[in-house]
């Protein structure tokens, strides 16, 4: 029973996003790798979930309806990705490649061992250590209620009493996604939020730092394991402040705000680095790139209502810097279009508030 539940969850969290992520292999020449496909696929699924879920929450529909529509959306994406895969295969275009073997020279191999050992330690501790986190009383309770009562943001999470629609929190329905995973896998929301999901999200976060490091270091790739180890140490020793993103990664892993700080924002930085490098080479970014950027910003809104502001701020500042530094003002137009979802969420927030 437990094995089947874990298998179901693995399919939902790893296999489906990776297949769906193959839609983005044309974003960059390094995009046909497993970490990129997995993470970009998950971002696309999150963006779709946000677009499906928020209107249904505001219309006070049942959670089951969100589930049905989300699985239809996922099914369509899967079909499209698989047909595209075979289309490419016919045309003999590379679909994906595994990460090339790590450098075999001793110091690098040793650093990779240290990296994997520290990662394993964090995953084990995510399972073994419990944290007395006040906000979980809200977010995890929302997931638990949604999973069982089939309503969304219509019950008071602290007490269980019935209330009017909490539309403000409903604009960032990350706990509803947790409930969806719980229903689909059969694992209770509380176990998902406290144990299973943190493990997947921690790996995802390091996956983004891996891609970012690879892009930052360019031809100095031998230094990548050291980069990753230093990142891990900064995360592990990020307890210097309860406000740091690193602290959030290990303490509040499955809360939307932590996903915003440790997955969406670093992924946006990675996408922005890709864009700046393309501008440097005077290449175009391509429609698929802009789609992924728009999805990342929508995923930011799913995590936290503040995600709308933070993602727009980041993309806006980088876009303006890029436009000024490269004298490429045209880049601002697609960037502005990518901000559509955050702008919409902000407008709804202001209306509701």
């Amino acid at each position: 029973m437990i094995a089947i539940q874990i298998l179901k969850l693995s399919i939902i969290l790893f296999i489906i996003p990776t297949i769906v992520g193959s839609l983005f292999v044309k974003v960059d020449k390094g995009a046909a790798r497993l970490p990129f496909m997995w993470i970009s696929g998950q971002i696309l699924l999150w963006a779709g979930f946000q677009c499906i879920c928020v209107p249904l929450i505001l219309l006070e529909k049942r959670f089951t309806m969100v589930q049905q529509l989300f699985w239809i959306y996922t099914g369509c994406l899967l079909l499209f990705s698989i047909s595209l895969h075979f289309g490419r295969k016919k045309r003999r275009i590379q679909n994906f490649q595994v990460i090339e073997g790590t450098d075999e020279r001793k110091p690098h191999r040793l650093l990779w061992i240290v990296f994997w050992a520290l990662l394993a330690l964090q995953l084990v501790l995510a399972g073994l250590m419990a944290y007395e986190e006040g906000d979980d009383a809200y977010y995890v309770a929302i997931s638990t209620i949604t999973e069982n009562a089939d309503t969304m943001y219509c019950k008071l999470p602290y007490t269980g009493g019935t209330t009017g629609l909490d539309a403000r929190h409903g604009l960032a329905p990350f706990p509803i996604w947790v409930a969806l995973l719980a229903r689909a896998s059969g694992i209770p929301s509380v176990v998902l939020a406290q144990v299973a999901l943190p493990m997947a999200l921690i790996v995802m976060s390091y996956g983004i730092y891996y891609m970012l490091g690879k892009q930052m270091l360019g031809n100095r790739n031998k230094a990548l394991p050291l980069f990753m180890v230093v990142i891990e140490l900064l995360v592990l020793f990020g307890g210097y402040s309860v406000y740091s993103a690193e602290n959030f990664l290990l303490v509040r892993t499955a809360q939307g705000k932590s996903v915003l700080a440790n997955i969406v924002i670093p992924f946006l930085l990675f996408l922005m680095l890709l864009l700046l490098e393309k501008l440097q080479k005077e290449e175009g970014a391509g429609a698929v790139y802009w789609l992924l950027l728009a999805c990342s910003m929508a995923a930011g809104c799913l995590c936290s209502t503040l995600g709308a502001l933070l993602t727009c701020m980041l993309v806006g500042v980088i876009g303006l810097c890029a436009a000024v530094c490269y004298r490429r003002w045209k880049v601002l137009a697609p960037m502005a279009l990518c901000c559509a979802m955050p702008v919409l969420v902000t407008v709804l927030y202001l209306i509701i508030d």
Binding site: G127, L128, M129, A130, Y131, E133, G134, A137, A141, T144, I145, N148, L156, Y158, T159, G160, P188, V190, V191, Q194, Y209, G213, M216, L217, G218, A223, L226, F227, M228, V230, L233, L234, V235, L236, F237, G238, G239, Y240, S241, V242, Y243, S244, E246, V251, K257, L260, I265, P266, L276, E277, Q280, L309, L310, L314, I318, C321, C325, Y326, L350, D353
Partner: protein, 248 residues
Amino acid sequence: MNVTEIFQKYMGTGLITIWFLLALIYLFINEKKKPMRILFIYVPVIILLLYFNPLFSKLFYRFLGDEIYFRICWLLPVAPVIAYTLVCMLNNLQGRKRVCFGAVAISVIVVSGKLVYSNPLFSLAENVYHVPQAVVDVCDAIKIEGREVMAVFPDEFLLYVRQYSPVVCMPYGRDANYFELHAMMTADEIDVEALAGEAKYYGCHYVVLSQTKPLKGDMSDYDYEIFDFIDGYVIYKDTTMNFGLTPR
């Protein structure tokens, strides 16, 4: 709270932020690639300028309040910038110097930060739900298949009951301080008559108390009989309430 105080809180001990600022200066002097300069020097500086801009903070405070202003700092790529700078510095060194500098730098990071798991709020999980086992046992004991029940719990339960069980309801949760019932539950000696009256007012099927809690009076005098003893807690059940699946 003003923005400087919030930034000080975000910095914590401050050393990691100092390394980040020094890393920005190092990259400003040494980094040649334009995309890297834009993303990891200009953008963080502009975000910091925005953060400390009084007009921006005023607008932010007006619409979102000051409690979450620190989250602007999440846009600063602290970890990648420090890690990248360290790698660049090490690349310029050879042999022993490189190893020694690397070891010193990593030690400095470790000393400057604080191990997340050293936080006293971390503890060994008692079960797969990451909630105290007493919460699991008590909730399992009082739940009735097919309906919700209302129970009032001691403070140590409040964060966890609704995470674990959607069918166990409470008169108050994390917002306990606004409730008179909470004041009664946390009194040094519980006035049973007042507690029972207030619990009935909120429709509590159960009252859960620590076995060590001194009581002034007997709960059974007010229709609450002992239902069970679990993990150091005594569960009182209201004998006058409807526990069926349909209303009386």
